[in-house]
């Protein structure tokens, strides 16, 4: 097998402590089935506080909106309602969910493609509407007039920002109004002034590149100036999300892995994937072709650090740091992180139902979960699951070497559908000890887009249930994960920030917890 090419997940203290509670996790999966999604709502409040600290460093004000689409969980949304954060909703259902969870309309922004019903409820309740273009603006204004609704606050989504000097290319987007059409948009805003009030402008770019975002952010500040020139007084620049997450604990592992994957594609080492899949790379006459289609799983600068880097980045033509530009323009900054706020907020448990060796000598581990239940691969995230053994034998995820008789092993993870392609990952996964039937594999950090975005009921296989878990005394105010009490749980839809306290007081003992 050679040296096991681990890609160990980065674990925040809360998730690490949960994974050490094997009997608790097994009891949950025994009772609620596999796959099972486990959420850590308190982590969300900690992540929020880290973003807020970056705002403070740069003396900026404005809202941090959680992109609801990252996860359908009620527990996460309700926990967030108990903070000062806002929420970004992209459908009628999400808007209803947010209102029902306790978000007041001033803390909600409605984005994405909208139906008339979605627009009506947003305008009726006074939610800020992130408007895609002139057509949507006019549709909203007509709705407001026709149903006698209050004047709607709108953020105008811009796109196709231009740079000076070198041309910074950006992937075309289906959304937003090109800045070249700003004048026409402003004229529409003025014509609809009886029905809508411009609260600001925004962009959302699907890129990891700071330079591209700097061009867009400066473009927004210039657009705000065009509003002022017409006597309007917009206050906020909304820069969307895309702050990223670092999934892996160890950058060296990521680098070693990608190098070995390249070598494997070049045929210079044994395959590292099921049926020699190349993750976008291919091999042609001794030269590597293609681009590695993987999420950069180890990112030294992600989440709030990425925001900090962007705000410290110089504006491409005005020269000042972007934070200074916003501050000097007297603007608020809105952000809409999804993945980055949900970082470390949940994991997906899957039961091992079969372990066998194929005729060609590959070890196949079949799970009671499908690829759509653990959508890490779908998002290009390569990260090892953590083995949670049934019998409490030590799994030793640390680098201490083999502790189980079996020692490190390379396996392929197959899903529960009767479908050749239903592999949890096409990668050979290296585990520190061999999994056995009845063990659980915990796929950590799935709360952002990798938990329920695609999960369905194909073949009448069960959709994963969701539970929220917490520990006594753990609250966002204390040091992270400081709660020392036993783990508690409830079904996701039963979770309320008050119930958490209430239950803790009512029951004397904890759930079955087994910290060593």
């Amino acid at each position: 097998m050679g040296v096991p090419l681990y890609l160990e997940p980065r674990l925040a203290p809360r998730a690490a402590s949960l994974l050490a509670s094997g009997r608790f996790l097994h009891a949950l999966a025994d009772g609620l089935g596999s796959p099972l999604n486990v959420l850590l709502p308190d982590q969300l409040a900690d992540n929020l506080a880290r973003f807020r600290a970056v705002y403070r460093t740069h003396r900026l004000t404005g809202r941090i909106f959680f992109a609801h689409k990252a996860n359908r969980s009620s527990a996460l949304v309700r926990r967030l309602a108990a903070t000062d954060a806002g929420i970004d909703v992209a459908s009628l259902g999400e808007l209803q969910h947010a209102l029902g969870a306790g978000f007041t309309p001033d803390r909600i922004v409605a984005t994405g493609p909208k139906t008339p019903e979605f627009l009506w409820l947003a305008a009726r309740t006074g939610v800020v509407v992130h408007v895609d273009g002139r057509a949507e603006l006019e549709q909203l204004a007509a709705l407001v007039r026709r149903y006698g609704l209050p004047r709607a606050d709108v953020l105008l989504r811009l796109s196709e920002f231009t740079s000076e000097g070198s041309r910074v290319l950006t992937r075309p987007s289906r959304f937003g109004t090109p800045v070249a059409e700003l004048d026409a948009l402003l004229t529409t805003v003025e014509r609809c002034a009886d029905a809508v009030r411009p609260a600001g402008v925004g962009y959302h770019l699907d890129t990891t590149s700071l330079a591209e975002k700097a061009v867009a952010l400066e473009g927004c500040v210039r657009a705000m100036d065009a509003f002022r020139a017409r006597g309007l007084d917009p206050r906020a620049v909304d820069i969307g999300g895309g702050f990223g997450v670092s999934y892996l604990a160890d950058g060296e592992q990521w680098e070693r892995y990608t190098t070995e994957l390249t070598q494997a594609v070049m045929g210079r080492r044994p395959a590292l994937t099921w049926r020699r899949h190349g993750y976008g790379l291919s091999h042609e006459a001794g030269t590597l072709r293609g681009t590695l289609a993987l999420y950069p799983a180890h990112r030294p600068v992600a989440a709030e650090k990425y925001l900090d880097a962007l705000l410290s980045h110089a504006a491409p033509t005005l020269g000042r740091p972007l934070a200074t530009l916003l501050l000097e323009g007297l603007y608020e900054l809105h952000i809409e992180p999804g993945r980055a706020l949900a970082d470390q907020c949940g994991l997906t448990l899957a039961r091992v139902v079969e372990v066998r060796d194929t005729a060609s000598g590959e070890r196949l581990v079949r799970l009671a979960a499908g690829a759509d239940d653990v959508a890490l691969e779908e998002h290009g995230v390569l990260m090892d699951p953590v083995l949670v053994p049934r019998d409490g034998r030590q799994a030793a995820p640390d680098a201490g070497g083999p502790v189980d008789a079996g020692g490190p092993v390379g396996v392929h993870l197959a899903g529960n559908l009767c479908l050749e392609a239903d592999m949890i990952t096409r990668r050979t996964v290296f585990l520190p000890s061999p999994p056995r039937e009845g063990d659980l594999l915990a796929f950590v950090n799935t709360a952002g887009y990798c938990m329920d975005f695609r999960a369905g009921e194909a073949q009448r296989q069960p959709v994963a249930r969701k539970v929220a878990v917490w520990r006594d005394g753990d609250a966002a105010e204390g040091p992270e994960g400081s709660g020392a009490g036993p783990w508690r749980w409830c079904l996701d839809e039963e979770y309320w920030p008050v119930v958490q306290q209430h239950r803790t007081r009512q029951h004397g003992g904890g759930e079955d917890a087994d910290e060593a």
Binding site: S166, R167, T287, A293, E328
Partner: protein
Amino acid sequence: MRLDSITDAIGDTPLVRVDPAVHGLRHIDLYAKLEMLNPFGSVKDRAAWNMVRPGLKAAAEGRHTVVELSSGNTAKALSLLAGMHGVSFKTVTNRIRIPEMRDLLLLLGAEVEELPGQTECLDPSSTDDPLTLFHQELSGSDSPYVYTDQYYNARNTEAHLTGTGPEIVADLGGRAPDHFIACVGTAGSSTGVARVLRAHDPAVHVLGLVAHKADFIPGIRTIDEVQGVGLFDPATYDTIATVTADDAIEGMVTLARRCGMPAGPTGGAAYSGAVRHLRALDAELTERRTAVFIVCDRIEGYLSYVRRRRPDLLGRPVHRNSVATLTDAEVAAATGIDVAAAERWIAEDRPLVVDLRSPFSYAALHIAGSVNIVDELCAELIEGGLPFSKSRPVLLACPVGEQSARYAALLTRMGHPDVRSLSGGIIAWRDAGAPLVRE
């Protein structure tokens, strides 16, 4: 030396011995092949000229554009060569990570297109990889481009096969060196030179240097990136070793400060990698050996690269009249004035109102009658002394009252009798409903 064309000055670069007192090798003579002395400033002049020469005439007639994927010296050389021949040049790059290079390319008349960054919401089935689209555009039958294709073009290697390699052998009296060290970028120079040297002496040892994966060294690829280079063949190198950005800068500083060779980071990396590799061998040697490494380009274009990684190398003394010298107590003691009081003060005593924000923000909205001195400029003025008369009070304003408090403290220390800082800044002013104008 009288030449008809600047292109005649390409090549024939000197091979200069590095003082043993600097590198400390006792049995090895270490030579630097000074490719930085090519007319456009780098080793790429040779490849660029050799690659573009055959297509230039047709390009000029057909009004075609020369195009290359380069964010550095190849683009620089091609810009100059294209300009000389009345042809336009476009470079398509991933991010240019050396800002000076972007401005330089624009100054030289190149068109620069920067490719988008990696997508944040990855779609593994996507087929719109920007580089793939670029290649499709170029390979169209009526493409208006002449693509020099430096990573695959055999004429890149050929430039060194006929130029750099034979020059080294000639300068060593018809012998190949025992060791040849080169950084791997397009692999053109290392492959071409290695082939010539091996033809003279199959025993020559070739060391290829690649960048550490997490690092960025201009002109050097990482071990994964070289796999995508058409000219790269692992068999060219007896050893492939890794160098870091720190190695590159250390080497660069040694060459510049001690050897009189103002080399860029690629040359610095080659020097560091060479000395590290040779030092281990040197201890066991009894007879003399020679080694040659390539100095690709010059130091001047990499100031921002050094500033980001090793600001200590550019350390400057702090000026006495600088906000950096203020103590927390001095800043806390600065006189603040709230919005309501400031409005009255302006009406009664007409202080000079100085807005420290950028001209762009000032132009958008400001306090009527204020003057705009952006903080950077204010700092520069103050270094020379008090820029305001002591006879008139001064009200300083910035976005939140933080910068203005610092400048108020500094001006007070310098002897101004009445400087006040607008507490809460222009934001508090606006939030209190005080008037702002746009003129």
